[in-house]
Symmetry: C2
Subunit: 200 residues, 2 copies
DNA sequence: CCTTAAAAACGAATGCTGTTAGTTTTACTG
DNA sequence: CAGTAAAACTAACAGCATTCGTTTTTAAGG
């Protein structure tokens, strides 16, 4: 029984690969152990439990998703940045459906590791929204709106729930993002007017 | 072993109750059998498999959700109907989180029973959107937008993903629905103008 | 180079899980 | 009352996550 040179990072990485290949639903410690040429019990030297492992996978997926978002927005501002962010989000969810599924699958209530990543999820979005001239509170509300639209669309699309009608889904998504962009533009104008202390 | 008078409907109903109580994640055939005072294998006289059972639970949950939507919209049109629908949707997702979870959990690809319910989900939404003066294609796109917003918000809220900031979630939701309402209003106006064959 | 101790793999076992097959009991129909 | 179909049963299987105690391997210190 030669050592496999495993550590937590390698196990999480292998789990992510396996999930991406075979799907989150059929993931098991036994299957992962088989792939790593190790007995299932050996995995517990590197990981506290299956839930803990999936937590790590979710964190990894969040990292990649947010990086894709940041790269897409690089050098852009305003609506261009908004559309780039939204496109990157949907692209990731479609390119890595099972990994994206893992992100939303693990509840965030009281999991320290994921609680920390919450900031990573929010940050690129808040940076994009910063270009619309809203105050902090409004930005936080709109951040929720945008995340709702992006995840809601991705989830429905993945579940096959948008196949009832033949209309092009790309166009539906653009329409949704345009809708948010319009709302943001108007909110920004309004916020700017209200901010004037001495209107002409 | 006296007969329990079980049938598919009773089993599905009991499964829904159990899921609502203990959560979808911890649901099991053994647990359901225990509640029904029956051996696990006996359930297979009424249900093809656990997946088939969960499919039935999802169908049941869809029925209740759409009924809540219809009741909320009764007698309303336009934006009033839109807000009522959106409120009813979120209310149901919060009042029956585990049942709502079951709806989105089962993939819809090639499941006849749920494919049939897809129409039930879409219908009340399309009726509400009918009041905005869009053509059929636009209505189908906006239906996807609205469903994305509603589910995306419900899913994030349920996962605890909107707790990062203290801002009131009710207000975020109203903002999101207002955003869709504004988009719909403008799309309706535009559609009406385009429809004129002889503009003044 | 040898010793020591920690880390990592292991085998075995526990109590779950969904599901199938074959058998027995129940309830209805002629 | 006899026969039949449905519904319950028992037993079994393979797989699951996880824990315990043991054995092996590696790395560090003297």
């Amino acid at each position: 029984m030669p050592r496999q040179g495993l550590n937590r990072e390698a196990v999480v990485q292998a789990a992510a690969d396996l999930i991406e290949e075979k799907g989150l639903a059929s993931f098991s410690m036994g299957g992962l152990a088989r792939r790593l040429a190790v007995r299932p019990s050996s995995l517990y030297n590197h990981v506290q439990s299956m839930d803990g492992l999936l937590e790590g996978v979710a964190a990894l997926a969040i990292d990649r998703l947010t990086q894709a978002e940041r790269e897409a927005c690089e050098g852009k501002t305003g609506e261009a940045a908004l559309f780039a962010l939204a496109e990157a989000y949907r692209w990731y969810a479609r390119a890595h459906p099972e990994l994206y599924r893992a992100v939303m699958h693990v509840g965030r209530w009281g999991r320290p590791e994921l609680e920390a990543r919450a900031g990573d999820i929010v940050r690129p979005i808040m940076e994009v929204l910063a270009g619309f001239g809203l105050d902090e509170t409004e930005q936080r509300h709109w951040q929720r709106v945008l995340r709702s639209v992006m995840h809601g669309f991705a989830a429905h699309e993945q579940a096959g729930a948008f196949s009832h009608f033949p209309e092009d889904r790309d166009e539906s998504y653009r329409l949704a993002v345009r809708c948010v962009a319009g709302g943001l533009r108007r909110a920004g104008r309004k916020s700017h007017e209200d901010g004037r202390t001495d209107p002409v």
